[in-house]
Symmetry: C2
Subunit: 342 residues, 2 copies
DNA sequence: GATACTCCTTAAACCGGTTTAAATGGAGGT
DNA sequence: ACCTCCATTTAAACCGGTTTAAGGAGTATC
């Protein structure tokens, strides 16, 4: 239980100065090989590990990246995205000895979350997720001088590289899939319009439908929560001429919608086809299995972490990274429509 | 974009020494009130904020707590528990200026995760979740000298305080609820026996049943994942005399089981009653709504963080904290059994 | 044999706080 | 006027690393 050995202990043991030890441990040139070996051996024998605290102070780096999550537990629990994304991030950070700091933003302004992270110097950079239209966080971070990476591309100029995973192909594939099944009355339950990815999905939905010569029956706005999915679904089913297929902007709303449809006495997919987005774990196991769109959040996390590290390391003009697009996963919740509407 | 003001800048501006500034800012006695005011004013005008890095180094504290998650993305995504738990933790950390460091343990030994967290000095203490029987992490942490708090009570002596949220009342309430509905053939899908909470639930299930003069039809072991829930359910339904009610150790398995039952042509709850555990968000919205057991993970997180901070702050004999027990939430997935078995 | 030039190593400053021991200064006592 | 005493305040060491400028020991050059 003795104190941890410091660099001074290593120096004493190797019979050299602190500076020499530092050079040796950082693989810096200018030391005789014999000396380096001697120092490394001493460090090894003492079981020396660098103190992050001291290193942080002297080189002014935190050796950590940050992720800000809005308080709404929904956001974190919702997205089956985050857990896998975080695992991906860690797969990159761990080997480099970096840590991931989570900041849950207070109810009010999440800006405080970023500000704290920056001012406390706890992280060297942050991930910017769930981009909103004209997202104010971009200027905020630029102003704070905090490096960042955006998850997907913002809708305005940004000084930060973007790591993108295109939702479009998956979304249009869902619509095309339904059209091929013979559906003509297709509705969409979108996410909150403030989010870029929500409107992207809604737009692609409409465009793909138009390309097939069809009009949306309706586009309801949900909030990505199950409760919102239920509400939106009820409104759609209450229409004079209800849809025969509904495309949801995420799995949570889709699964809730599935429940609502069944509760209303409909049989899925015979009376109504349902498709989600995310391919969350349960999507495969609800009855009927949910047709959805799958991305690779783990890889997304790894790519985002790598890119952010390049920015943090001072590289300029770090290029955007484009990941393989999300793809359609067909299950039992979508089928040819049997019911000719009333 | 000028550099952040340091304590020396404040000192210069207030016309005092660095030490005086430190005293004033930490509300330490021994300074004239007038001086304190002068210093605080100067700090305020300069917009001074303490450097965590410097503070960490000089007082040898990280001002952060850690949470280690095993690599399996399932664990994090699964438990609707974690997101809310984390939000609760943050509600305590944020006002104190502390951060939460997430460590995803490598596939192999999660011990490395804790070891890294400790040796890097990134955190002052950790939360110990998903306790296992004779959990080796307890000795590991004691050995590393890293303060900790266990979520629920371990099954052996532990030097750490425990924050507990009793699953028992909720679990037995589920069983009693089913018995009252007239079920006599009740089965359980348990979690992996390595986990304390999995066996606790299984034990309470059996005990409550016995108290009602009944025998379990069967107890299948799942792994808390949806896939595992499906498997276990299929095995139960394939029994010569299948159960009329199944109690699952968590919602994920229950929802998957619900899907499996429906896929097998059964009507829930008429042919089979199903109950889960967690009251995850979708539990309310699947069809039929899932009868389950609800706890308060947010509060759990807050209590755990408070308790851990007391340990970290050097308090001795920090008492265990007992939270209100989980309680039964009855929905439509459980009802009197209509089907007299074959 | 002195000067220059490498090459290697070290002492010391620095990062930005905290903390301890010592110094300063003014009031009160005689 | 001198000494004490106490309340304030300060200088300096320290936390454990990194980094820079200077020092020292050997060869090479002339």
């Amino acid at each position: 239980m003795s104190k941890r050995p410091t660099i001074a202990d290593v120096a004493r043991r190797a019979g050299v100065s602190k500076g020499a030890v530092s050079f040796a441990l950082n693989g810096r040139p200018g030391l005789a090989q014999a000396t380096v070996d001697k120092i490394l051996a001493a460090a090894d024998e003492l079981g020396w590990r660098p103190s992050n605290r001291a290193r942080s102070l002297s080189v002014s780096k935190a050796f950590a990246l940050g992720l800000v999550i809005t308080r709404d537990p929904a956001v974190l629990s919702s997205d089956p995205f985050f857990p896998a994304f975080i695992a991906g991030v860690e797969s990159v950070l761990a080997p480099r000895g970096q840590a991931l700091v989570l900041q849950v933003a207070g109810d009010g302004s999440e800006a405080d979350g970023y500000r704290r992270l920056a001012q406390d110097g706890r992280v060297d950079g942050v991930f910017l997720s769930d981009l909103r239209h004209d997202d104010p966080r971009i200027e905020l971070l630029a102003e704070l001088g905090l490096p960042a990476v955006t998850l997907n591309r913002p809708d305005k100029d940004s000084p930060f590289p973007a790591v993108t995973l295109d939702d479009r192909p998956g979304t249009s594939a869902v619509v095309e899939h339904l059209v091929e099944l013979g559906h003509t009355r297709i509705a969409h339950v979108a996410g909150p319009p403030a989010f870029v990815h929500a409107t992207v999905r809604a737009t692609v939905f409409a465009e793909t439908l138009a390309a097939a010569g069809l009009q949306p029956v309706a586009v309801e706005t949900g909030d990505f929560t199950a409760a919102g999915g239920i509400e939106a679904t009820r409104r759609l089913l209450a229409l004079p001429e209800p849809p025969t297929a509904i495309v949801y902007a995420n799995d949570r709303m889709a699964i809730a919608g599935l429940g609502a449809a069944q509760a209303a006495g409909l049989t899925v997919p015979d009376d109504l086809s349902i498709a989600g987005f995310d391919d969350s774990e349960i999507a495969e196991y609800v009855h009927p299995g949910l047709t959805t769109v799958r991305a690779d959040p783990f890889r997304f996390g790894a790519a985002a972490a790598e890119t952010l590290n390049r920015v943090v390391d001072g590289e300029t003009d770090v290029p955007d990274v484009e990941l393989p697009p999300a793809e359609l996963v067909v299950r039992r919740s979508t089928a040819a429509c049997l019911r000719r509407h009333p």
